[in-house]
Symmetry: C2
């Protein structure tokens, strides 16, 4: 495949094109991903999440700079959730990442659309793989943790960084136990604000209560990302965590978990595609069915079973 | 079906049991929904959404009281999103709805879990139907609009109320155009705060810019829900909007749109169920496949195609 060859040769144009292909669920996306897959597995994936306004973009920018200083190449996927009430505007995020956006060793991509068939996490996972095959040493996935989809994304990263800030009302009580468990490293950003030490203590207490089964004790790092304070410590902790994962064999099992989740999503997405194309080929029949349900001549549950049968038959018959 | 008979006879126990059935995706949920379907279509569905802290629960409580004063029965579905950073605690919400929770004419249910197969919006839609068949005149679905799922839920209501508050930082610029379009009625709650009139003007300007194709010009109502101020006007506007929908035939087309979206979700969910049970029946094979992908002996995209074929065959063979 031409585009994948170009990608492997370092073409940024091919990189961007391939990402667009998977993002828009265009024809050929699956085939492209098939040829890309063998070249993946070399990038280290960093997930950064936290509530709106926690300074995730600035932190991403500064972590990237630190990684660049160490001569690593970086790909950034900024997931813009579909939240209609998102605090941070997309444009603002990009402005906050200006520090690295002119660096050739850094590639930044926003994921805003879900496509027609859903699947933000699938598109993000595929994009991470494309950046991986392109040769990026690190892929940072930055997302505001507002929905299950976003949490799923972070859960599959090699290391998950949870960013919180003092005195935001988003105090630690509001952070549910579930999210505490996905954090490998906690960052108390804007730590020059009042209440930073109190927040650190609160996180420590919650961690002690919840994670006694974990061998890795998540460090809590205070940062002022805008002033570059503490960012080097975050990068240090990422390295320490990585060594821990490798030493204990956890990295392999973590990645197997990621594969399991991604594989399931690919299968679901493939079935959706069949369903979608079936509807598009039979618009009239589909509309008629909707009319029947609306008129109570049919119930949607019985028809759904029928539709599933039709889809199954369709898939079987189209098999080579 | 026993439980559905009991539901129709007014058993609250059967009501609660049926909701649990669909929420937990238990065996028999689909069959129960089939027998419920003919009794649906009589409830009027009110969707209430807005950012965390906008006072949605209090407003829901007060609107319910007003509807009760008019002798209508009400079912409330409080969707608690899976957001790990949700501002309002679930317990707090229930406290804010205390005003109606002891009223026999009101049934309140929280939807917090997504179940193993996803589908918060499917569970919510099914619960609304159960409340409908139970005989509730109104079903209020209250949700914080954080994700696509939640927006989908509101989009399928007969009337969508968008609640915002002055000076929250969630000013109108932060509310994306998409969400503006789903609002049939805008409520500026906590209107005793500074900036309420300015917010009303801003919403009006945005509406004028965006919705010139709509015949219905969304009213903007100022409320102080905690003081019961303006709530009667909101209920009045709900009635006016309902008359408009009936008069113009929009109610029927809106409901058809809802059926279309629900039907699609039921089909997808059914396919997921097949996939899920297939995995559970073949854990060893599935694990082996994951190993092969991890070892790069196989790629997940090719295997996904294969899995889709297996699922399709499985579904076809299990057909009666």
């Amino acid at each position: 495949m031409d585009l994948v060859d170009e990608l492997r040769k370092g073409s940024v144009r091919a990189l961007a094109k391939l990402i667009t292909l998977v993002e828009n669920e265009q024809e050929g996306a699956l085939t492209a991903m098939e040829s890309i897959y063998p070249y993946t597995g070399n990038s280290y994936i960093i997930g950064i999440t936290g509530p709106p306004g926690a300074g995730k973009s600035t932190l991403t920018d500064k972590i990237t700079k630190e990684l660049r200083r160490q001569n690593h190449t970086v790909g950034i996927i900024a997931v813009d959730p579909t939240s209609p009430f998102s605090g941070g505007a997309l444009l603002g995020d990009r402005v906050r990442m200006q520090g690295v956006s002119n660096d050739e060793g850094v590639f930044i991509r926003s994921m805003a659309t879900r496509g027609t068939l859903g699947g933000l996490s699938r598109a993000t996972a595929d994009t991470a793989k494309i950046l991986d095959a392109f040769g990026k040493d690190f892929v940072i996935i930055e997302t505001v943790g507002v929905g299950q989809d976003e949490v799923d994304i972070i859960r599959t990263a090699d290391v998950s960084i949870l960013v919180v800030i003092p005195g935001s009302g988003d105090d630690i009580q509001a952070i549910k136990a579930g999210i505490m468990e996905i954090g490998d490293i906690f960052v108390v950003n804007k730590a020059d604000r009042e209440g930073a030490d109190k927040l650190v203590t609160e996180i420590r207490v919650m961690l002690d209560l919840s994670s006694n089964t974990r061998e890795w004790s998540p460090p809590i790092v205070k940062t002022v990302a805008t002033e570059d304070e503490g960012v080097d410590t975050v990068v240090e902790k990422i390295s320490e965590h990585r060594e821990y994962l490798i030493k204990t064999g956890t990295l392999a099992s973590k990645r197997k978990e990621r594969i399991r989740s991604e594989f399931t999503k690919i299968v679901e997405h493939e079935i959706f595609r069949h369903f979608d194309s079936l509807i598009k080929k039979n618009t009239d029949l589909f509309d008629k069915r909707i009319e029947d349900i609306a008129d109570k001549k049919e119930d949607p549950y019985r028809l759904a079973k029928e539709a599933v049968q039709i889809i199954a038959k369709q898939i079987s018959c189209n098999a080579e």
